[in-house]
Amino acid sequence: MARVFYPLERFAPATPTFHLLPFRFTRLNGKELLVNEAGEFLFVPRGTVQRLTDESLDTDSALYQDLKAKQFLYDNSSSPLLDILATKIRTKFDHMCGGTKLHIFVVTLRCEHSCEYCQVSRQTATRGEFDMSPETADRAIAMMMDSPAPAVTLEFQGGEPLLAFDVIQYIIPRAKKLARERKKDLDIVVCTNLACVTDDILLYFRDEGVKVSTSLDGPAFLHNKNRPRPGHNSYEKAIEGIERSRAILGMESVAALMTTTAASLDHAAAIVDEYVRREFHSIFLRPISPYGFAVKTRHRTGYEMDRFLDFYKQGLAHILKVNRDGYRIAEVYTQILLTKILTPHSTRYVDMQSPAGEAWSVLVYNYDGDVYASDESRMLAEMRDWTFRLGNVHKDTRRSLFTGDPALQLFQASCNQALAGCSDCAFQAYCAADPVYHYATQGDMYGHRPTSGFCARNMEVIKHLFSFIEENDRDTMRILWSWITGKPLTEEVVECA
């Protein structure tokens, strides 16, 4: 048989019949932005969506090829490859697999700080009824290990959990034993202000492989203003604790989180610089949560979302500058959102998932055995609202928790695919549902998008990040990608391969 070559038209007809695949769109920076179900996006000229719907699009154009390759449409010249699209969508929901991974143990409500924005009730730091009992701990450990997740994280919170160090010491060996029996990987984290940390405690953490997460709100004047304690030395205590923890646990085992108060808003650069000075390689520009005492003290600590967004943008600009100057530090929220936008993968960050991470991805076991859908849910309970109390470790099983009325009500409002204002939003694939936030701020789990602080924040942050993507500055994108991949910024290459 003679071999002959055929022309292009035989393989790619000039005028195919095409059909649309699901996508959402918006106008952005004078263009149209199209996003498909798998989060793949394309900037196209204005009017493209119109031409797609009235079928007047030039099928012989590069634009048509782009739209087809990214599965915004398919045509009669080849397979729509729906199985590939399904795989990509499935990958984006990877975090749904395996059951609840993060298990927060509130081992005590006692704390020696009296922070204005504190999200939970503070109690005088004397031993008492606000510690988790061994019986409750045993039941909570068992419930945690009933999660089908092959790897679980045990996170100690309070109050100040180090004030109940004996409870921590009770829980860790028992959790480890059960994890071994159930063949689960177990990570352990303690969220502490480090004010009462001792070398003995740190040596115990080192031997048990426990990581430390602490609070650092910025430079001394800001940190001490936000976090009052007797002696007015919260900052000094935190820094001392961070250094001692690093010396004993290693640099990688100590992380810090900041909370943005009204007092923080004018100091974005100073806060970033404090993190750089303390040799941290990530910083999370986090708005204050509308829960706990933050609601009562709103006139002093709270602010409008617009002001936070200005703070975020200033902070991010400064962080990028620090990176350009050679110090690698990532902004965590940016890293999370860019992973959603630019990669085929999902993220484990529980506050930014749809279906919402509450209960699915995180459970909170309060000192008294009550189980909540999230840390924010239990903060509401401290304000005497038990809407998101799923049950109690002494009365419930994992099954009854997830099929009780509180959980079912929560789940109904937990998919942004089915929320008014989200269902047709171009950014839906990158965003989330947060029924607890909307209940707390708007009195309704479903929420009202035009007046939602959650929506305002995420819409603006996502648009801001898309402006970087569209601008596609080589240095900026290399920095942002280094945050996503965790790789160093550049490597000096001396020798060729």
Partner: protein, 409 residues
């Protein structure tokens, strides 16, 4: 270096595979051996029993009774230990395996269900499955020291049907630690059952090298001259990976693939995230390429922008990318870290310009057929750059859910 030579054959009725010996061996060591007489050696033709065959540069005065090829046109390259195949008409000596080389191939069929415009090994429509499989099984048996790497190539290997499974099983049994790389168009792997059966061979060290030429189906199908090939190849990548078979994407760079190269690597990242490696390869001026050269040729120097964008795109995403078949003198320094010495020893050469080149030892050279056509920008590099900015090689691969992560080695 040469792969074949011809001579005058005697007593050869069917193909013979054997190991060359240049020294006369005692009778008990002659099994599997082909005696090669380089010069006018005096040899007693009565004393040749036990050898599989005899090769000689010149014709012997007394013709032996065993299979025999004489008057070889070229023979200087034949060495002790080479495994060769002899064919009767005409008298061909084909080198199948040379232990001292870096790259080793198992050529399994000349048939193919694609007909790529730039195929370096144009397919032939004849059924060679049984004959070549028999030859290859014997070759595998004769390799005494397994090589670290072996490439299974064709043609399209999957067209061998069950014979391919037989070969891979044999390789698994006789050289389990040899890393096998099979060059395939991947279309057959679109059948879920085929991918499952392939995976069920459970070869511990096998991966597929599958070409992809565009993110746009019509363009890919045109390059490979097969309608529906894109759909099958993409499905083949997924089915193979879903069954735990490791895959590599190969892109040949030419005038038809360069325009959408940035979009192609974007497609690879989003759709074939699980690929272990992406090879961006220079065009070979052999096979079909000379016939289609007007449609294909672009000087590599002229696609540096596109190549750099594609490499950087993949590298910042932690994808493992390499450049094959390119000379360092036509690559920007930013790309040197990705250039590999990819051309097999037997088909590689350097040009006169290369002799004094400071980058010679790091450069993979040219295909020998590039002597007829190569970049206009080949030149002598007088001194090496001190450092070059690059990106570290990706060391972990993404996974798509439902498609198993490729095991890390």
């Amino acid at each position: 270096m040469r792969l074949t030579t011809t001579g005058v054959a005697r007593n050869i009725e069917q193909g013979i595979v054997g190991i060359i010996t240049t020294e006369h061996l005692s009778r008990e060591k002659r099994a599997d051996r082909i005696l090669f007489l380089e010069a006018d050696e005096a040899v007693c033709t009565e004393d040749l029993s036990g050898y599989r065959a005899l090769l000689s540069r010149d014709e012997l005065q007394n013709s032996p009774s065993i299979p025999y090829v004489h008057s070889l046109r070229e023979s200087d390259y034949l060495r002790d230990g080479d495994i060769v195949a002899l064919e009767g008409s005409p008298g061909t000596v084909r080198s199948l395996y040379r232990p001292y080389e870096q790259h080793h191939h198992l050529f399994v069929t000349e048939r193919c269900n694609s007909n790529c415009l730039m195929c370096s090994q144009p397919p032939k429509d004849r059924d060679d499955a049984e004959a070549l499989t028999k030859r290859n099984l014997e070759l595998i048996r004769l390799i005494s020291a397994p090589p670290p790497y072996l490439t299974i190539t064709g043609g399209e290997p999957t067209l061998l049907g069950d014979n391919l499974f037989t070969l891979i099983k044999q390789l698994k049994a006789s050289m389990p630690n040899t890393e096998l790389h099979m060059l395939t168009n991947g279309r057959t792997f679109a059948w879920p059952d085929y991918s499952r059966r392939f995976a069920a061979l459970e070869h511990p060290n096998i991966s597929l090298g599958i070409p992809l030429y565009s993110d746009f189906a019509g363009d890919h199908d045109f390059v490979v001259q097969a309608k529906g090939a894109f759909d099958q190849t993409i499905a083949g990548f997924h089915q193979a990976s879903r069954n735990g078979v490791r895959v590599e994407v190969r892109v040949v760079l030419h005038k038809l693939t360069i325009p959408r190269l940035t979009k192609l690597v974007e497609y690879i990242y989003r759709n074939l995230t699980f690929t272990e490696h992406i090879a961006l390869m220079g065009l070979e001026y052999t096979g079909y390429t000379p016939r289609n050269i007007d449609a294909l040729w672009i000087d590599p120097y002229d696609y540096q922008d596109e190549l750099e964008r594609a490499v950087e795109y993949l590298a910042v995403r932690n994808m493992n990318v390499s450049i094959y078949n390119h000379q360092l003198c036509v690559l920007r320094h930013s790309l040197w870290n990705y250039a590999r010495k990819s051309i097999s020893d037997w088909k590689m050469l350097y040009l006169p310009e290369c002799e004094r080149c400071a980058a010679l030892s790091a450069c993979g050279g040219l295909f020998q057929w590039a002597i007829k056509k190569h970049s206009d920008h080949i030149h002598t590099i007088l001194s090496l750059p001190k450092t070059s900015q690059g990106y570290s090689k990706g060391d972990r691969n993404g996974r798509l859910l439902g498609v198993l992560a490729t095991p890390t080695r």
